[in-house]
């Protein structure tokens, strides 16, 4: 990977996986009031303060003294002091003079770059180049191309500010194709009376970026972007023991895995094949040495589960023999010989009796021994067999009990099927939610709730030939 130049702007360097690649030319595109100039000055100021890298700001329209005053009163950035220290130049000139001087061998620009050993430059704004272009838009493109090459020749990281008057974001300006990166600033209505500002890295050659529109505030320290899809972290999130899902990408997203002693929901639609996810999580638990309690669903027999776990290289016979796996069966279906002691038949039990069964038979079993327990069940089966009211009245209690015993629980549910109200209740009761769905011809997986506050982007699920048979793209 190329050397990266930190912008020094909180959040932006994280979005850029460390910073802007060296010698890159990046467009900062935004409508009026989005803070483009502030971002540019902040980039220069933080470059001096944090990295001792000198910078130049070229301003075509705004006067330098206006910028000195604005930046000092709004953010406390004393630009004149940095100029006196030979670390900064705020140069006011017309675009035509700027280009002439850049092209001139040992011209004014070259002299100043050399004089302060400039590493960063901000040009505010390249939109004025359109008045320089003599013939057509091709000439404007040529000018920008020439500018990019000169800035690169001087080894500068350059931010070119571009004003956006066309709010139709489906229109892609020609300039986007010439430069190495594009950062777009947006402002839109929020909660009727507020405005919400967002920052998106549309393009950045040579580094990975966190995709999405990241909300930012203009604070007394400049622009302050917050990473998109990030909610407030649970106080337990960072320190709890992690239970691997067996799926590398998912574990990474969860900072190591599911939290032990937490309740998770896998929300799936009817077209999505969730079995590889379940297979990976259950087999990983058994492989590590945890015990598993599972409620069989109407669509999943004990035989299906046996095949699934065997596919994930688990010797299920052995696990059953050691009483490390138990099944709760709502349908009186046949089980392999020798497995009878591992199955609890609850098909004849009323809801009250089922509750008693959980209290008197299941919970003591889970209390017993030193092994950790992992519980997996299909909530739609419980809803079908015991009714929505039962789930609404018992789920929170069961979840609390599981947490108190340190059990990790994974519940399968189709939020669409159970309705919005029930889904919202379930989502609130759980510590984390994964969602998998099929859209067109692809299946996706997304973490929509997690204790670390990190909501993921929707990942594509790709099949693999080896365990865990899926991976996140």
């Amino acid at each position: 990977m190329q050397k990266q130049i930190t912008t020094g702007i909180h959040g932006l360097d994280t979005i850029l996986s460390g910073g802007i690649p060296a010698q890159s030319t990046v467009i900062i595109d935004g409508a009026p009031g989005t803070g483009k100039t502030t971002l540019g000055v902040q980039f220069l100021y933080e470059g001096i303060a944090q990295k001792d890298e000198a910078g130049i700001l070229i301003t075509f329209e705004e006067f330098p003294d206006q910028i000195y005053d604005d930046m000092k009163s709004s953010f406390g950035w004393d630009l004149m002091k940095q100029e006196k220290a030979g670390k900064l130049r705020v140069i006011g000139m017309s675009p035509d003079i700027f280009m002439e001087q850049l092209l001139e061998p040992d011209g004014l620009m070259e002299q100043m770059i050399r004089e302060i050993e400039c590493k960063r430059i901000v040009i505010d704004s390249i939109s004025l180049f359109r008045y320089l272009a003599k013939e057509d838009s091709f000439d404007e493109r040529r000018l920008l191309y020439q500018l990019r090459n000169i800035l690169r020749k001087f080894g500068l990281v350059s931010l070119l500010i571009q004003e956006r008057s066309d709010l139709n974001i489906s229109h892609v300006p020609d300039s986007y194709f010439i430069v190495d990166g594009v950062i777009r600033l947006n402002v839109r209505a929020h909660l009727d009376v507020f405005r919400k500002r967002t920052l998106e890295v549309v393009k950045m050659r040579g580094t990975r970026v966190i995709e999405g529109e990241h909300t930012y505030k203009i604070t007394d320290r400049g622009l302050y972007p917050m990473i998109a899809a990030q909610t407030v972290m649970d106080y337990q999130g960072a320190e709890s023991e992690k239970v691997s899902t067996g799926i590398q990408g998912l574990d990474r997203q969860l900072y190591g895995g599911m939290d032990r002693g937490a309740v998770y929901m896998l929300d799936t639609n009817s077209r999505a094949n969730y079995m590889p996810v379940i297979g990976s999580i259950l087999s990983e638990r058994l492989r590590i040495g945890d015990n598993v309690l599972t409620v069989l669903s109407s669509t999943q027999t004990i035989d299906d589960l046996n095949k699934l776990l065997s596919h994930h290289h688990i010797d299920v016979e052995e696990v059953v023999r050691k009483q490390r796996i138990h099944f709760i069966e709502h349908y009186r279906r046949s089980v392999p010989d020798g497995w009878e002691n591992s199955v609890f038949y609850v098909d004849q039990l009323s809801n009250d009796d089922y509750n008693q069964f959980l209290k008197n038979q299941c919970y003591p079993l889970l209390h017993n021994g030193e092994k950790e327990w992992f519980v997996y069940y299909d909530l739609n089966t419980i809803i079908t067999e015991r009714g929505t009211d039962y789930v609404l009245s018992s789920f929170a209690k069961e979840a609390a009990f599981a947490r108190s015993l340190g059990m990790t629980v994974l519940v399968l549910c189709n939020f669409k099927e159970v309705g919005e109200q029930v889904a919202s209740f379930l989502e609130r009761t759980t510590n984390g939610v994964f969602k998998t769905w099929v859209d067109g011809s692809n299946q996706y997986l997304q973490v929509t709730k997690a204790s670390n506050g990190q909501l993921s982007e929707p990942y594509l699920l790709e099949s693999m030939k080896e365990h865990p048979f899926i991976r996140l793209i």
Partner: protein, 85 residues
């Protein structure tokens, strides 16, 4: 322009360059930025160049003007009361 009228414009130009020490502009650019006519500005700029307040760069009548830092810069703190000898 009368000589007495030229003085305020001379002050205006001086202040402009002093407040924006890295403003580099042509006559046409200054016309836009200061909102004054070229023909009024030109003689003033010549005076400021002669006085060593600004520099004239370039050739072939495509001159650029920029502030010239004084050779000696003193930052003095003047006390409220004079010290007795």
């Amino acid at each position: 322009m009368e000589k007495k009228e030229a003085l305020p414009l001379q002050m205006e130009c001086t202040m402009f360059f002093q407040s924006n020490p890295y403003m580099i502009e042509s006559l046409a650019g200054l016309e836009n930025k200061l909102g004054r006519r070229k023909e009024d500005l030109q003689p003033i700029l010549e005076i400021l160049v002669q006085q060593g307040i600004i520099r004239q760069i370039g050739k072939d009548s495509k001159y650029l003007y920029r502030y010239k830092e004084p050779d000696i810069i003193t930052e003095m703190t003047i006390p409220d009361k004079l010290e007795s000898p």
